[in-house]
Structure formats: structure tokens, C-alpha cells
């Protein structure tokens, strides 16, 4: 028998049980008996955990006051954080110079926002300013010693300020160094290749704590007294090298995913190695590994807390030091929750931005 179809069949809507709220519930929460049990158990767990936590943190919490006597309710005592907030933010930076820190961070906040928000003009100019001018400005604002700004020694730096300085310098330098190392590792030049491999494998093979410890305790023993490098700077270099090695491997993963044909097409058009790398290979490779790059950034951000073992007072260390204040004994939970939320907000923002970036850069090239 032959079938004759004279006109295309019309597209019908899907059955109503598979769409809408009911369809969604059925498919995702109650698709089987076991799943229904898990759903109910999950709901019960949320019910027992979330309301008390919210009550403690928000509704029954004490917010205003200057001493622990202000904390009379059952909830959290945020007064502790409020009283100490300046130290949490600035460490032991002299209060008269706080404006310098605020200016430096406001400026970088503005610059980064300018670069990250999609529709702002003159991105390349602002980008160049951020890369080449801002670090110099930031150095003089934080450290001083010029333009009539008194010197603030690095041992006075602390709190969130120190955390952010360590994290941003870490990201700022480890990203380009990582790219160069990744390219070096894939290079056909034996010397560039072996230097990259040795560097990456060395720094990836040692724990960050060891690196920091070596830089702060061992290194000074080998360097003459008059040539001592600042402790913060040593820690920074340690973090940068350590994270560069990780970044290099992330970037290398991206480079390996780019088909050889891309390079060949670029070469056939007459593009040099650096042009084809910079214009063709890297943009695609970096886009592929945005999740990995952001992952490394987040790890770096949180790893900065390790500097407390070499006596630098980052946010966590400053908050922990405040627990020892006899006037404020017993408020460590509030302190830790505060620190955790600062870290969480920062890391979550990075994660969200990376997802936005992935979507923006998607050009539908997946075959």
C-alpha cells in the first residue's frame, strides 16, 4: 500500500499534563514514590532548619548598641561586628588615612564596573588605564611615601582590605603569567617548554601553606639583613606563582580544545604566531575555560585566608583576633557568619558574572 500525503501535518500542542505547574511538579518532584518521599523529607528538613536560622540572624538579632549589654535577645549579636567593623575592614591602618583605602577601592570598583558592564564606551582606554596606571596609583595610596602621603607600613594593613589586595594582585598577575606558561608548555621551543613545565610542576606540587611558610620563615634566612623584602610582598609573590601554575593548566586545557585547523587557517592567511595566538586561538580557548578560570579565581580568593599562619591579619585573622577581646568573649559564631557571608557574596558574584560572560560570548559555533 502507498501513502499519499498532500499537505504537511499541523503541529499539535503537547498534552496538558506535561506542561505548566502541574506538569513541572509531576516531572521534577513527584515522578515516583521514592522521589515523592524524598521531596517531602526535603521540605520537612527546610522547615526545621531555615526559620530558626533566619530568626536568629535577622528577626531576633540585636543590631544597635556599643557594648555587649545591648545584646539581650536570643538572636545574633551583630553589635559585636558593628563595633569592630573598622578593624575588620582596615586592620590596623591609621584611621586618619582610611580615606586613602576607600579612594583606592572606589576607583578600582568604578573601573571594573566600567569594564564589566556591557554598554560603556571607550573600554580599551579604561582597560589600559586599569592595567598600567591603576596599580601605580593604588601603590601610592596604600603605601604612601609620595605626594605628601605619609608611609603606612604593610604590617599595619589588615582585614578585608588586605584580603582584597592579596586577591586582586593575585588575579591580576596570575592570569597573564598563567597564559604565558600555558603557551610555553605547548611551545615547540625546548627551553621555553622545559622552563614552563618545571615552573608549573614545582608550584603545583607544593601546598600553598608550605609556600607561604617558606617565604616568610626560610627565605629571610638566606637573604642578607639589608636586602630583606617586605613580608607582605613575599606572600603576594608566593600566591601569584602558586596560582599562576594552576591558571596555566586551566588555560592549557582550553588551548588543547581548539582544533588544529584554526591555527592552520590563521597561518595560511599569513598571520604570525603571536597574531594567530592573540586573535584566533586565545580568545576561543579562554572563552572555553571561563568556568575553570573563575574557579581558580574563587579558590585564590579563599586561599588568601592562609596568610594568617605567617602573621598577616587578613579578614579572617582580624575577626579571630577580636574573639580574644575579654569584653566580647563568646561571639565567635557572629564573627564567623560575618566572614563567611563576605566571602560568599564575593565568590557568588564572580560565579554569576562568569555565567553572564559565557552567555554573552556564545556565538552558536558548537557543531
Amino acid at each position: 500500500m502507498t501513502v499519499h500525503v498532500t499537505s504537511p501535518s499541523p503541529s499539535l500542542p503537547p498534552p496538558s499534563s506535561s506542561v505548566g505547574v502541574v506538569g513541572w511538579l509531576r516531572k521534577n518532584l513527584f515522578s515516583s514514590v521514592v522521589n515523592s518521599i524524598f521531596t517531602l523529607a526535603g521540605l520537612y528538613l527546610l522547615y526545621t532548619l531555615v526559620p530558626p536560622a533566619v530568626n536568629w540572624a535577622l528577626f531576633q538579632a540585636d543590631w544597635i548598641g556599643t557594648t555587649r549589654d545591648a545584646c539581650t535577645s536570643d538572636g545574633a549579636c551583630w553589635v559585636f561586628v558593628g563595633v569592630r567593623i573598622k578593624q575588620f575592614l582596615f586592620g590596623f591602618y591609621p584611621p586618619s588615612e582610611y580615606w586613602r583605602v576607600v579612594t583606592a577601592f572606589s576607583l578600582i570598583g568604578l573601573l571594573v564596573a566600567w569594564l564589566l558592564i556591557d554598554r560603556t564606551p571607550k573600554k580599551s582606554l579604561v582597560g589600559a588605564f586599569t592595567i598600567f596606571c591603576y596599580p601605580v596609583i593604588a601603590y601610592f595610596l596604600f603605601y604612601g611615601g609620595a605626594f605628601g602621603l605619609p608611609v603606612v607600613e604593610t604590617y599595619k594593613w589588615g582585614g578585608l582590605m588586605l584580603t582584597l589586595i592579596l586577591a586582586t594582585t593575585g588575579m591580576f598577575f596570575s592570569f597573564p603569567i598563567g597564559i604565558v606558561l600555558a603557551l610555553g608548555r605547548r611551545s615547540s621551543m625546548p627551553i621555553a617548554k622545559s622552563i614552563s613545565v618545571v615552573f608549573i610542576e614545582f608550584w603545583r606540587g607544593v601546598p600553598l601553606i608550605t609556600v607561604l611558610f617558606m617565604s616568610s620563615v626560610m627565605l629571610p634566612m638566606f637573604i642578607p639583613e639589608n636586602m630583606q623584602i617586605d613580608k607582605l610582598l613575599r606572600a603576594m609573590i608566593g600566591i601569584i606563582f602558586f596560582q599562576s601554575a594552576y591558571m596555566a593548566e586551566v588555560v592549557r586545557g582550553g588551548l588543547q580544545a581548539i582544533p588544529r585547523g584554526q591555527n592552520e587557517a590563521a597561518e595560511a592567511l599569513g598571520l604570525s604566531y603571536w597574531k594567530s595566538t592573540g586573535l584566533i586561538v586565545l580568545p576561543q580557548a579562554l572563552k572555553l575555560v571561563i568556568p575553570g578560570i573563575v574557579n581558580t579565581f574563587i579558590a585564590l580568593f579563599k586561599d588568601t585566608t592562609l596568610v594568617l599562619i605567617i602573621g598577616l591579619f587578613d579578614l579572617l585573622a582580624v575577626v579571630q583576633a577580636a574573639f580574644a577581646d575579654p569584653k566580647w568573649l563568646g561571639f565567635s559564631v557572629e564573627g564567623y557568619v560575618f566572614v563567611a557571608s563576605v566571602y560568599w557574596v564575593s565568590c557568588f558574584s564572580m560565579s554569576r558574572y562568569s555565567q553572564h560572560l559565557e552567555k554573552k560570548l556564545h556565538t552558536g559555533h558548537a557543531r
Binding site: P259, E264, A265, E267, K275, T363, H365
Partner: protein, 254 residues
């Protein structure tokens, strides 16, 4: 333009010359004593069984592959380790790949402008005008702002041809340009190539499209096991093959 008129475009000027070219992949002898002269305006089709070295042969001409013995001279420049020579040759030779190899992160227009701007240092405006002209010529100007991933295979390959032409090459190499295409898209790409041939472009094309070979080629080269086995003008080649290997090959593909 008729075939006879196109014939007149062939002048005596030698564009590509290969003298005793040998190449090995490790121990595997992939090109054996290749001798070839391509004069200006010639259209040469290279065919042969898979793995016979035909792609390697044309990839040696712009040094995507390095040959170990013999000389390759393109537009009077000997290809050796000198990067300047390689650079000059690559600017003068366009190449079209089986897998298109468009840059997926750039739009069609940006794909075409890239080399004129970064290699030939043309001002952006001029590069855009050139790109537009060639995109029109391959009849795809209306897709200029799309990304390659949004185009069909045939459209992508036409963009790839336009991208090469934007460098204003005097020789074009085609490495199986229609092998990765769905059957209904082969013609649109071949039409563009026929056009190009009629305008007198010097072309070397690895392909099994025998209709195309008969339409445009001056010469067909048959390769097997790294050697040029037979070389003839197309009608003679297809109707009256000389060697047994050619006969066997033709019986398998026709």
C-alpha cells in the same frame, strides 16, 4: 567566458615549481620525488586514493607542512626555514580547507577583514570594502554579520573562499573543498570555484568532483603512494587512462 578564452589567460609565467620534493612523516615516505610546474592561470586538479599524499602536496606549497628534500619555489621565492620567505609566500597563496576552518568567535565580516587588517595593514574602512566586495561575489553579503556557526556548510565554505580572496592571492589551493558538505550544497561551492577559474585564477585543487575537473581543469594529476602516476588534460585522463592504477581508481569512483 568560454574554455577557449580562459585558455588564453594561461601565460608562460611559472607560479609554483616543485623540484624533486620528498617528505617523510617519521619513517613513512609520503612524497616521493615530486616534480611539478604550475604556470600562471593554470587550473590543476589533483586526485588519488586516500592517503596518497595529495593533501600533503598542496600543504607543502604554503609550508603548512615542511618538506625535507628538494625545492619548492612559489612566485620566485624558495620555501626554506626563513620565516620571511614563508610569510611572503603565504600572503600570495590562499587556501581553502575541507573543514572550512572559519574562526567561530568572529562574524563573517570579521573573518574576512582579519588578515587584510593585521597582515596587510590595510585601514579598517578599506578592509571592510574589500570584504564586502568578495562576500558579494560569493553571494553571501547578506550574512555578513552572522557568526559561522549560524551558517550552513555550503555558506561557510563560500565565506572561507571569500576570506582567502580578501588577501588578493595570485594562487589558490583547495584541499577537498566539498568533501565535508551535504550533497545539496556541493554545487553552490563548485559554482563559486568555476567562476574563479574563469577569471583566470591559478588554482590547485584536491578533489574527486570529476564534473568540476572536466569543466575547469587544464590538467589532472593522479597520485598514488606519494608519486604522481599520471598527468593529462581532463578529457583524455578520464576517457583514456594510461596506467593500471589510474584505471582501477577511476573504476572505483565513477
Amino acid at each position: 567566458m568560454t574554455a577557449a578564452q580562459a585558455e588564453q589567460n594561461v601565460s608562460g609565467e611559472v607560479m609554483v615549481e616543485l623540484r624533486n620534493v620528498n617528505k617523510w612523516y617519521g619513517d613513512f615516505h609520503v612524497l616521493k620525488n615530486i616534480n611539478l610546474k604550475v604556470t600562471k592561470g593554470e587550473r590543476i586538479i589533483i586526485c588519488g586514493p586516500s592517503g596518497c599524499g595529495k593533501s600533503t602536496l598542496i600543504r607543502c606549497m604554503n609550508r603548512l607542512e615542511e618538506h625535507q628534500k628538494g625545492d619548492i619555489i612559489v612566485s620566485g621565492i624558495t620555501l626554506d626555514d626563513d620565516l620571511k620567505h614563508i610569510d611572503t609566500v603565504r600572503r600570495d597563496i590562499g587556501m581553502v580547507f575541507q573543514q572550512f576552518n572559519l574562526f567561530p568567535h568572529l562574524t563573517v565580516m570579521e573573518n574576512c577583514c582579519l588578515a587584510p587588517i593585521w597582515v596587510q595593514k590595510k585601514p579598517k574602512k578599506e578592509a571592510l570594502a574589500i570584504a564586502k566586495q568578495y562576500l558579494e561575489r560569493v553571494q553571501i553579503a547578506d550574512q555578513a554579520d552572522k557568526f559561522p556557526g549560524q551558517l550552513s556548510g555550503g555558506q561557510q565554505q563560500r565565506v572561507a573562499i571569500a576570506r582567502s580572496l580578501c588577501m588578493n592571492p595570485s594562487i589558490m589551493l583547495f584541499d577537498e573543498p566539498t568533501s565535508a558538505l551535504d550533497p545539496e550544497m556541493i554545487k553552490e561551492v563548485l559554482d563559486v570555484m568555476v567562476d574563479l577559474a574563469r577569471e583566470g585564477m591559478t588554482m590547485l585543487c584536491v578533489t574527486h568532483e570529476m564534473g568540476f575537473a572536466k569543466t575547469v581543469a587544464n590538467r589532472v594529476l593522479f597520485m598514488d603512494a606519494g608519486e604522481i602516476i599520471e598527468e593529462n588534460e581532463p578529457n583524455e585522463f578520464f576517457d583514456n587512462p594510461q596506467s593500471d592504477r589510474t584505471k582501477l581508481f577511476l573504476s572505483q569512483i565513477l
